[in-house]
Symmetry: none
Subunit: 218 residues, 2 copies
DNA sequence: ACTTCATTCAATAAATTTATTGAATGAAGA
DNA sequence: TCTTCATTCAATAAATTTATTGAATGAAGT
């Protein structure tokens, strides 16, 4: 029948978007570019894959309309195509967490083996920031910090942590954050800080979530 | 566990959900069961595929946590696993429509070729409602109707239409609406009503748009 | 217990997607 | 114009997903 044929085409077109989301590597890429516009090489490096492979995944994302590109100098910067896309990615991740217990197990497993997990919520952080009772560090690479960060946060990339410990206060709680709930850099930073006698916790979310609800950024 | 290895597992688990969404047939199934809990055979019939095939797709959806089952008598009823899932499906569909022009073309093509699939505007409907010259039906699932609907609308879910035709007037124009301009349930209802001798049209928008500009709701 | 039948499982070939490799493109700066 | 090099394209084998078929399961009603 005619309706059947139409529906088949319709759902096939809709699946262009969902198919683009169906690959683990592409999800990791999406999570990365949720931080802000980044060039292909940067992505390839972070997902630990050849540039040609990253490029091909980016083509799929681009053709589906989920990401856009912009040329700046020598580089092609990829970014999410609007807040709508970010919101969907966020919702999908939330569904994954709430409906797939293996994900929570994986995270707990990873975190508990590294150190006692202690997180702080957005509201707690805001309250402590008002009382100036906290030292907030952004442990993402400085490139991402410069694309935007939580207001009053100090850039202290995870890789530089060891040599810059003297910048941190011993008498205040140190809160670390990075890319989002799945980002592990803040966990690793907190573990390292605790080993060195600091009072440290991680924010239970990351910069994209903070920005998405219009909390103060720089 | 190495960080990279962990991340690989993490995104692979997240992709269980997105992979479940990546198949056109499963999207059609999701759209079907968004209307309410339905048994496997009903789904198989509507997607025009063997029962075994429908069952396998349903297993994928179930394992991903997107749908749930409940036994009632002889049948296994499948339903969406919460509003969260419905919202994501809605957002994905919206992204598809806004970022893939082929979808809009398909839809326009479909509607214009189906003879007499006319729409009525919000203002026309309001005028006719004032003159009591119209019978307004909400063809969404009753759960959605109960969460809010256009004032004076009667709940008549599309799935119940066939067995409740005698409730409708032959002497008044019947106006059907559903979730929005892209929702096909109202189109299908109108087509079915016209085949059965009613004077029917669809509202060119849906409840969310109506509510958004503060027109009368219940 | 027995029968029915809605649903699920299992096996398989076809179709699609993915990672890999190396070459091609093409914009920017010299 | 030439060179550089970030990115894309193209080809291919491996891996995964899909539709199909027929058999197995197991809950409900007799």
């Amino acid at each position: 029948m005619k309706t059947r044929e139409f529906k088949k085409k319709l759902y096939k077109q809709l699946a262009v978007v969902t198919k683009a989301l169906s690959n683990p590597t592409r999800l990791e890429i999406l999570d990365l570019i949720a931080q802000g516009p980044v060039p292909v090489e940067y992505i390839a490096e972070h997902i630990d894959q050849p540039v040609a492979n990253a490029s091909q995944h980016l083509q799929v994302l681009k053709k589906s309309g989920l990401v856009e590109t912009e040329r700046k100098g020598k580089y092609n910067y990829y970014r999410m195509a609007g807040k709508q896309v970010y919101d969907v990615w966020n919702s999908l991740r939330a569904i994954g967490f709430s409906r797939n217990s293996e994900i929570e197990d994986l995270l707990n497993d990873y975190r508990s083996k590294k150190s006692g997990l202690k997180t702080i919520s957005r509201d707690e952080l805001l309250r402590k920031m008002e009382e100036d009772d906290v030292y907030l560090i952004d442990v993402r690479p400085s490139e991402e910090f410069e694309l935007g960060h939580i207001k009053n946060a100090v850039s202290l990339p995870k890789v530089e942590l060891g040599e810059r410990l003297d910048e941190l206060p011993k008498d205040k709680e140190v809160v670390a954050y990075c890319r989002g709930p799945l980002c592990l850099m803040a966990d690793e930073a907190v573990r390292f800080l605790k080993e060195n006698g600091f009072n440290a916790v991680r924010l239970d979310e990351g910069f994209p979530e903070w920005k998405a609800i219009d909390l103060p950024v720089d």
